[in-house]
């Protein structure tokens, strides 16, 4: 057992997002004293997500989540939209089995509720404070985190949980993690547009508390790796683009223009008609997948959520909130177990073991090839055009004699300039990666 008597708390959690609140809740429930620090003047004030939350982790952790948390709509309709300059092809998936599987959320509303649950469980939440650095002791090359420093004050603790999000300056300054490369990051640019519930129901074909999630690929990012999204909230829609940073920089395009043209696209604009902009924001997305996870613990420190690179871009969905919550829970379990049996030195390894035994590690491994696959540029343009050409051949009836669909498809493929071997290669790689 740690013999340092003068700690301010057993654990300091930096960041009151999905990962930090999940960790703090579990730690408090295990009887540890916990301080949660967030730089926003309220939890959630700095956080922005798409955001479709897959609820399994939240319902496991937070009592009464679906009944009481301020969620927006239950996603029962998923649309995958391939968008071209003047055409679109969509897959529309509705399924009653989806009821409760995913909900749309707005983080400025959700995160204060998550933090309140931590407080009810006994954690102390300190918003409005930026942690400036970790306090690290170096005893002959043996480095150990002893606490955090904020605004000139030091808080000492047995363990720090770095839940400080995708930029995680804390774990970088500690020398634990290196700065991600541009191809491992994307910037999400989002507008929240007010629409009344009746308009949402009519335009998106949903009723009551149901909602729709549109994942858009193709012309929406103008050839830049990434995609667009359009999600319904109770009385607003979340709409925006996610742009991979290496591609964005190479394109020379102005990021806000790409966002604006997506919202103005003739197939997108009707959904927003008459809507008032409530907020415009942006945030980085960790897209490096398994390769980005790397070091996630050192003596006295565990790194969770986006800070540990735990986000999955599968091409159609960005998933980070559920992974953040589950990683926070795995870290809390490892810390609580280490405190109980006095084996603080094994906590980092135990956290990694628990993480990779859970769905988080399994899914990160399953999608390990996704980032490289999604760097194939054809995905963001040529394929959408190809699909539209095939369907144009089937539905556009002019005076020309009809051809079998197969020959239309062949013609479209030849005309697309992609080439059969590339289609086959992309198809095979896609099946393996996704």
């Amino acid at each position: 057992m740690d013999t340092t008597p003068d700690v301010d708390a057993d654990v300091v959690v930096v960041g009151a997002g999905c990962a930090g609140t999940a960790a703090a809740l579990k730690l408090a429930q295990a009887g540890l004293s916990v301080i949660v620090i967030d730089r926003g003047d309220t939890p959630g004030a700095k956080n922005l997500s798409g955001g479709v939350l897959y609820t399994h982790a939240a319902t496991d952790l937070f009592d009464g989540f679906l009944a009481h948390a301020p969620v927006e709509r239950v996603i029962t309709r998923n649309v995958v939209q391939f968008l071209n300059a003047g055409s679109g092809v969509a897959i529309d998936y509705r399924d009653q089995a989806l009821e409760g599987n995913a909900v749309s959320v707005l983080r400025a509303r959700l995160d204060p509720w998550l933090a309140a649950q931590c407080e009810s469980a006994g954690a102390m939440v300190m918003p409005g404070v930026r942690v400036d650095r970790l306090v690290i002791e170096d005893a002959g090359g043996q480095r150990r985190v002893l606490g955090v420093e904020a605004g000139g004050d030091t808080l000492r603790c047995h363990h720090v949980v770095a839940a400080d999000g995708v930029n995680s300056f804390l774990s970088r300054a500690a020398g634990l993690r290196s700065a991600p490369r541009p191809n491992q990051l994307a910037v999400g640019i989002k507008s929240t547009v007010a629409l009344d519930a009746a308009a949402i129901e009519a335009r998106f074909g949903v009723s009551g508390h149901e909602g729709a999630a549109f994942a858009v690929v193709g012309d929406c990012t103008e050839g830049i790796g990434g995609g667009g999204f359009l999600y319904t909230n109770r009385e607003s829609v979340s709409i925006g683009v996610v742009l991979r940073l290496d591609d964005l920089a190479a394109s020379g395009k102005t990021s806000s223009d790409v966002h604006d043209r997506f919202l103005a696209h003739p197939l997108v604009a009707p959904y927003l008609k008459g809507g008032e902009l409530l907020e415009y924001g942006c945030h980085l997305v960790a897209e490096g997948g398994l390769a980005m996870v790397g070091e996630i613990a050192m003596d006295g420190l565990v790194v969770v959520g986006d800070a540990a690179g735990l986000t999955l871009n599968t091409g159609l969905t960005v998933r980070g909130m559920d992974l953040a919550m589950a990683s926070g829970a795995a870290a809390a379990e490892a810390i609580a177990a280490g405190q109980a049996n006095g084996e603080a030195a094994g906590i980092g390894a135990d956290y990694r073991r628990r993480l990779f035994a859970s769905f988080v590690g399994k899914d990160m491994e399953t999608y390990a090839k996704a980032p490289a696959f999604l760097e194939r540029r054809r995905l963001y343009g040529a394929y959408g055009d190809l699909a539209a050409s095939v369907l144009r051949g089937a539905f556009l009836h002019d005076r020309r004699p009809r051809r079998h669909l197969a020959s239309v498809a062949w013609g479209a493929l030849r005309g697309s300039g992609i080439g059969l071997s590339k289609v086959a290669g992309d198809g095979l790689a896609g099946v393996r990666a996704l």
């Binding site: 730089r39 926003g40 003047d41 309220t42 959630g44 004030a45 700095k46 956080n47 922005l48 997500s49 955001g51 707005l106 983080r107 400025a108 509303r109 959700l110 995160d111 918003p127 409005g128 404070v129 930026r130 904020a150 605004g151 995708v166 930029n167 300056f169 700065a179 991600p180 541009p182 990051l185 910037v187 640019i189 507008s191 929240t192 547009v193 607003s236 979340s238 940073l245 964005l248 920089a249 020379g252 395009k253 102005t254 990021s255 806000s256 966002h259 919202l263 103005a264 604009a269 927003l272 809507g275 902009l277 409530l278 907020e279 415009y280 924001g281 942006c282 945030h283 980085l284």
Partner: protein
């Protein structure tokens, strides 16, 4: 939905830190590397303006604190950290 970017940012809520900018730029390095054009294009909040002489104007009050500029700026050009506690963007939707 044809708001200018400035009008758009005007819908947001900010708590401006009047005393301290959280962004600093090495203008010599910026001129040498041509960083202005890159920063101007990538920042979703139009915080940066490339000046004709190669230096870079900064409107730190508009920053949405994403971190994109820091990743894409040529090495040595930018010093960027989060604003002090409570200051900066205050999302009400998120």
């Amino acid at each position: 939905m044809t708001l200018s970017l400035a009008e758009r940012l005007g819908r947001n809520s900010y708590q401006l830190d009047e005393e301290l900018s959280h962004i600093e730029i090495d203008q010599v390095a910026a001129k040498r590397t041509g960083a202005g054009k890159i920063l101007e294009a990538v920042c979703p909040a139009h915080v940066y303006t490339a000046q004709p002489d190669g230096s870079v104007g900064i409107e730190y009050a508009a920053c949405l604190e994403c971190g994109t500029c820091l990743v894409l700026a040529p090495a040595g050009v930018l010093t960027w950290h989060y604003p002090r506690g409570s200051f900066g963007i205050r999302y009400r939707e998120g």
